[in-house]
Symmetry: C2
Subunit: 449 residues, 2 copies
């Protein structure tokens, strides 16, 4: 993408309304624009990151055996009356009347609708286990939306729903999502720790939150420091196999948010030098809730003995529109965002130090074309601007590698690569630049982990 | 994808509520499920087709120079009061009050919001031309939604918006979209004809509908038969170059829908043997409307002479959730859907005629694995069912190529490929099957056209 033809409205000033660093940086980097309270447009740079995050989530959901579909944003109130949640849900649910005065609502979650789909089609235990997920916009009418897309009213969510014949199978489904979530966050460059959680309005009796550590996190967390170094389940993990050992391994060490922490237990369980208290951001939440929805909504299958069995369910949420700021909270410096390659809007940017200089222009054009043809997601800063502004923009928007080309270096046949994260700079023959960038980038890609 | 683990709820009976063939087939093939009047869930098979259609649209939008962003589904009523459309739009607009009694609406289109984004960031004529698009769910509260996703209330739309300094540049932007649309529909296997159209509530003075021909189309169309054979602009079309000749070439021949047709003019313009009257479905609509929104909403830039100039705009819509049934209307037979490879949910299906037979199972597993590793989007029908049901399902859901493997053929080392469209069958050595499928499929892919 040539930046001269792109839509990248970076801001010089930090907007006053933004309280947290991710919100400030997303506005400054031209990633989002507020349209109403808690409602954002995703500008081109922000949308690219959001889409890369969604792709990682989808790949790991598919790998675990979940199947993607898509439910509409608006739902009929009748389904929610069946489960008893229509009146219970409170003012966060956006209630709507259509032109025929029918009660509808903008879905804040989809347990009812997916249960309705299930009971409409699935008849036999032979069709289980089944895990269906979608990635769709949802709406929760928070009294005071804040922190940009970290807590917006209209937000994107991946929500999966598992259906099993009994509790034992349902817990296996829970383990599959547990492992998929560990891999998902790891591939975005995040350190995510599963913590036993309250089930809240979703209900049920087994639940974990996935919390990523970030100095600017919203809540305090208390955990065993070894959780930071635990190996992540590998890409060839057999999701049809026994995942309980992985689950036990991860949950045997103490980890709790401030809402759930029992300080005496924390201190008893964890040796003092291993006690980690830090700040965290919730980025995922998984629930097993048995027959809470299948019972009132009569979602049953015929069991092996010919009798009807009410299915056991779980639900599993990740918020991609919240993960974008969460990654920024976990990875930034004074100059701006520091994207991991796996979710960066561009993997590299070619910076032309002197647009209009024919040697610079032709060298940059050639590098840009070669990087594109090698499949690198590359931007080309071909704007007629000073070098200082270009460096500041590249740093601010967090592109992992800057390939800097100008007349002075070109005279010697040299270019420079700046590593955004470490600040390291390397000068190298211009003919080596493409291969060098490939060597740096490809091992860090989302499909490489 | 193994069909034994997929969610593919095909129906044996044609649902009574479905009036048109595409709606019947989408329900029978397990592509969608109705959730409320005019509201559908996209089941896994349907979502795969929808996503492939969206990808083609995005690729052609990007190729033409348009830049993707994403606006929220809900909008503030205030923006629509600025343009004067809040009161004018009528009952099709779904009006909503949030918990603070603020007036909101579910966006039926986005001229106002994109104009607001534009005026918030763009200051200079140097930033033009600019074309911003998104693909987002929209809602129009039709009195009587019908025909499945062909005319649903919640529907997916790609809408692009162009901004230019003057009418001459705006018309060039219009030509770029005109050409992009010709390529877009062609890549989905559709014959789309641009027809001069009424501008309706969007307003403006230059507008074309893109109508695809289908026997079951909703409206009559009248055009010059040579439009069917016109060459489509090639993949290397220079969108920075002069596209007017292409526009003139396509619009010089008579073409009109029944609402716009002038029969005496049709008969005067078109020699009798070239007069085509057929049925058509509208799948895209483009508008140039000048300063209709930029004027009241004060979207201006500083011109070359330092004075403020009100920008000229156009908007350009395609409905992907409408295109899915439109492709089916244009391509089906008595046995079911006949997908073009470019949008087929799977490019091929391996049909195991005798699950449980060790020779069949191992041959199928190997073929399935090899096709996957060759990058073919392949399904494997490994369900423990009779051959008749498998053939019927493969035909119904319209997979372009069926690779049929069973014990009898295997004894001779042979398999069979059935071409869904022509009904042709070829028997070939099993070792040749993967290469033969690649030879058939790859040239028909969406990126090959």
């Amino acid at each position: 993408m040539r930046l001269s033809r792109y839509f990248l409205p970076v801001l010089k000033e930090t907007p006053k309304e933004a309280e947290i660093i991710s919100h400030q940086l997303m506005l400054r980097a031209g990633m989002v624009r507020q349209q109403a309270a808690g409602s954002y447009s995703w500008l081109p740079l922000g949308l690219k990151v959001l889409n890369k995050i969604v792709r990682i989530i989808e790949e790991e959901q598919n790998r675990s055996g979940a199947i993607q579909l898509l439910m509409p944003t608006l739902q009929s109130a009748d389904l929610w009356r069946e489960s008893g949640r229509y009146d219970a849900y409170g003012k966060e649910m956006l209630r709507i009347k259509d032109r025929h005065e029918r009660d509808m609502l903008y879905g804040p979650t989809n347990e009812e609708m997916i249960t309705d789909i299930f009971r409409g089609f699935v008849r036999s235990y032979k069709d289980l286990p089944l895990n269906l997920y979608h990635v769709q916009w949802k709406f929760r009418d928070e009294v005071r939306p804040r922190f940009g897309t970290m807590r917006s009213r209209e937000f994107l969510m991946k929500d999966a729903y598992s259906f099993d014949l009994d509790e034992a199978s349902a817990v296996k489904a829970y383990y599959r999502m547990f492992v998929a979530y560990l891999r998902t966050f790891h591939r975005m460059g995040l350190t995510a720790i599963p913590m036993r959680a309250d089930t809240g309005p979703i209900g049920g009796n087994l639940s974990h939150e996935f919390i990523i550590l970030a100095e600017t996190g919203e809540s305090a967390v208390f955990c065993h420091a070894d959780l930071l170094d635990k190996p992540i389940p590998a890409i060839d993990t057999d999701f049809c196999g026994d995942l309980e050992p992985i689950f036990q391994d991860w949950t045997s060490l103490y980890a709790a948010t401030e809402e759930m922490v029992d300080m005496p237990a924390f201190e008893a369980d964890v040796p003092e030098h291993k006690r980690l208290s830090a700040r965290g951001i919730e980025v995922g939440h998984i629930f097993y809730f048995g027959t809470k929805y299948s019972e009132p909504m009569k979602a049953t299958v015929t069991g092996p003995d010919g009798k009807d069995v009410t299915v056991h369910m779980g639900s599993y949420g990740i918020g991609p529109s919240r993960l974008v700021p969460a990654v920024i909270e976990a990875s930034h410096d004074e100059a701006g965002i520091v994207w991991p390659v796996s979710v960066a809007p561009f993997e590299a940017v070619v910076i032309n130090l002197k647009v209009g200089d024919s040697a610079s222009d032709s060298a940059c054009e050639e590098l840009y074309a070669r990087l594109e043809s090698e499949g690198i997601d590359v931007a080309y800063d071909d704007r007629d601007q000073g070098a200082g502004g270009k460096f500041a923009t590249a740093d601010l928007i967090g592109i992992p590698y800057q390939l800097i080309v100008g007349p002075r270096g070109l005279k010697e046949g040299m270019a420079e690569i700046k590593h955004r994260k470490s600040g390291e700079r390397e000068t190298l023959p211009i003919g080596d630049a493409v291969n060098r960038l490939k060597t740096l980038i490809i091992p860090q890609r989302r499909d490489a982990v």
